[in-house]
């Protein structure tokens, strides 16, 4: 009887509430865009798809974009919750340990050296960025092993900051070698984009995301105990080091997959965990599913703003999350230290 009935009710209610929000956002988002389309025409099977502009706008331009936003936003938010709990730091984010900087380095290398020709219909940019994040993840894993010998979580955090700064410096070095047009393209990639235009791009990162989410789903009780401090968790018989390894590696895998799909979109991984905790409390059995759903719908809404509110050309989604996320985060900090 680990979960008492009222907690179970809270979990069900939270998932139902946030699930309804997510469903509503996902239903409305593909209907809105910079062009107006006729829905009956979009779903009219009698018109050949090749001639049906409305169907192409709906199924090629909008729906994959909404699905990508949902996956990327949910992944960043869950990874943020895990990192904040294990590093016991409210400023921790999916990038704290350098995973998304590693992904950026992979993408920048491929763009600068023009090795970005498509392989089997898949662009090399997401593949390389995933490889870059895997490299950083390897270092994270080694760090988590070093933790067994008594390294504190502050040291882990600092090591992450150093790794992140190092990988960022290498990225800039590579950019200096490149042509100015390559620099422009790398900058654009770094602002994030969810306009994937095909379902293959979404299907590929879905596998590592599912594995990582399944691993994290076994952890909420541990996350609660770890948030109180390692001795408290160990007193309850938790193998903290083992749980931490699983958590850090899965959250990094989640981050790497999300970055390879949408680019290093900032702030979702920092704000959404805090927002969700404000709304549903600190119990991770409630926080984790709520963060996944809320993070997804938050990014769907941000992307909706990005593609409609700034004229037909739109705006990079990474700029919009920061526009909304920046002031919120400042407010959060002021409130905390008032």
């Amino acid at each position: 009887m680990r979960a008492p009935t009222d907690l179970r009710r809270r979990i069900v209610l939270t998932i139902a509430g946030f699930g309804a929000l997510t469903a509503a956002v996902c239903l409305v988002a593909p209907l809105v865009g910079s062009t107006s389309i006729s829905l009956p025409r979009a779903f009219d099977r009698t018109i050949p798809f090749a001639d049906n502009v409305d169907a192409q706008v709906f199924f090629v331009a909008r729906l994959p974009r909404v699905l990508a936003a949902l996956l990327v936003g949910g992944s960043f938010a869950v990874a943020g919750v895990v990192f904040q709990a294990f590093l016991r730091n409210p400023l921790a984010s999916p990038d704290t340990l350098g995973v998304s900087t590693g992904a950026t380095l992979g993408a920048v290398i491929v763009i600068t050296f023009h090795i970005d020709t498509a392989v089997l219909g898949v662009s090399a940019v997401p593949v390389a960025s995933f490889a870059g994040s895997a490299g950083a993840l390897g270092v994270v894993y080694l760090l988590s092993i070093a933790r067994r010998r008594g390294t504190s979580s502050t040291v882990l955090l600092l090591a992450g900051v150093a790794l992140s700064a190092f990988l960022g410096a290498v990225s800039r070095l590579v950019q200096v070698i490149g042509d100015y047009t390559d620099v422009f393209r790398s900058m654009r990639w770094m602002m994030g984009s969810l306009d994937v235009g095909s379902y293959t791009d979404i299907a590929i990162p879905l596998l590592p995301m599912t594995i990582a989410l399944a691993a994290i789903a076994t952890l909420p009780r541990v996350l609660d105990l770890v948030s109180l401090g390692d001795p408290a968790a160990e007193a309850r018989g938790v193998d903290v080091r083992r749980a931490e390894r699983i958590a850090l590696v899965s959250a990094s895998l989640l981050t790497g997959s999300a970055v390879s799909l949408g680019g290093p979109i900032p702030f979702v991984g920092i704000i959404v965990p805090h927002l969700v905790r404000l709304l549903v409390g600190a119990d991770h059995r409630v926080v984790l599913p709520a963060a996944a759903l809320f993070g997804g719908s938050f990014l769907v809404v941000c992307d909706l703003v990005a593609r409609t509110a700034f004229g037909p050309a739109g705006m990079p989604v990474g700029a919009v999350t920061a526009l909304i996320g920046g002031p919120f985060f400042l407010w959060l900090l002021f409130r905390r230290f008032r």
Partner: protein, 284 residues
Amino acid sequence: MMRRAALATLSVLVAASVLLNAEAHRIVSIIPATTEMLFAMGAGDRVVAVGSYDRFPPEVDKLPRVGALLDPNVERILALKPDLLILYGTQNDLRTQMERAGVPYYPYVHRGLPDITETIRSLGARVGVAGAANALAARIERQLADIRARVAKSARPKTLLVFGREPGTLRSIDASGGVGFLHDMLEAAGGADALADAKQQSVTMSTELVLARAPDVIIELRYARGDATAPADLKAWDGLPSVPAVRNRRVYMLQGEEFVVPGPRVAAATERLARTLHPEVYSR
């Protein structure tokens, strides 16, 4: 009062000496477009150093490189003792440093198509080869006028000029907007810019915007050195079959650095666009 008069006299003297010394013999040009202009007007032997991104004509490969827009190497520039530095009008720090060091400079501003020949004329006058520069500018203007006349009677297809995209997909499509020399070249070549209403040089397009604009022709420009993108990469556009350009097989790829350097090769580049847009006129 006396001091004021002295200052005024001094500035007149400085202006006069600048005019008298108008000829330049040791030129550093850190801008690909102006480097090409200098060589095309016959002043290539006066160029002693170029910028990091200068590639044409092949002679520049032998010259020392002194940085570019973001990273000009002031030390190396001064060490070369130039009597003229051609820099970007926005490089304010570099201008101040050159003023302090007493090195004359020519500020370049990158704008539309008519500004290219205007720059050639004023640069030629500044360097001391006005005759050759005026002839070059007149020749380019004549070539452009010929192209305009040739395509004048043809229908103007709605054209999307793409200068960047993630290979293999339709992600991060960067296209030319309604201002700048690419837009001017497209209009001169007899195309109607599909993004003419966007008052910016480049527009990052969503797939939705491509569908909404429904261009008749899509031209992709590839210009990076070592770009090995195969024309088969154009298949990515098949994902948007309702776009007239895709349906009518009018998606093209043109390779060449002249499309991104607003210099003397602009007429040749415009003609390549015109041949692509209006094969019927050029096959006659």
